[in-house]
Symmetry: C2
Subunit: 119 residues, 2 copies
């Protein structure tokens, strides 16, 4: 599959909330995931660490809704916009998250994912 096809498959899975399933299908073993920093470690290296980050997010939030827009493609990279309506379980704060995810593919797998926060 080319970038467009993989991006469409991932976008379709994310629109159904299948974030873990999509990772198991497409994360490279040595995937690198980069958040903008702030709380926690901004860079997660390897499938186990990236999977753990997703599990942490799932456990820490009630997810009321996810909107996925895109993909936008260039070569072996594509971008997606995520708009999420979530409640932080710890402090009860409900918020809208607005992010761009930038994905770099190698050999049909996600080699890097990098997130950009709006605000």
């Amino acid at each position: 599959m080319n970038t467009q096809e993989i991006a469409k498959d991932l976008t379709s899975m994310w629109a159904k909330g299948q974030f873990n399933e999509s990772g198991e299908k497409y994360w490279a073993d040595d995937v690198v995931s980069v958040e903008p920093g702030g709380q926690g470690e901004p860079v997660s290296r390897g499938k186990a660490a990236v999977r753990a980050k997703g599990e942490w997010f799932d456990n820490a939030h009630d997810i009321h809704g996810v909107k996925v827009e895109g993909p936008w493609v260039n070569g072996d990279q594509f971008s997606v916009r995520f708009t999420m309506d979530v409640t932080n379980k710890e402090n009860g704060q409900r918020m809208n998250m607005d992010e761009i995810g930038l994905y770099t593919l190698k050999a049909g797998k996600i080699a890097e994912e990098r997130f950009f926060y709006g605000g």
Copy 2:
């Protein structure tokens, strides 16, 4: 200025249609601009080449409207979404362009801009 401040300034200029002015203010002399390919040369190197690409676009299109969303920031990079309503002057075709621009800053200037196309 940090990434967020430069991104806000650029976004504000783009929302006013000041694409050339913003470039003169922020393009590094050795800026690299990467389109997804297709027609023309996908990589423009240097301020003169990137400026010429903008002039070509302006001359080849009637621009009816530009919507700018963002910025979304991560470290020295930020993303912006451009939605443009344009008519291709050569063939008269009116179309909505939906793009993500990914900007990488170095020393307060745009070192690289990379565009992702939706569709």
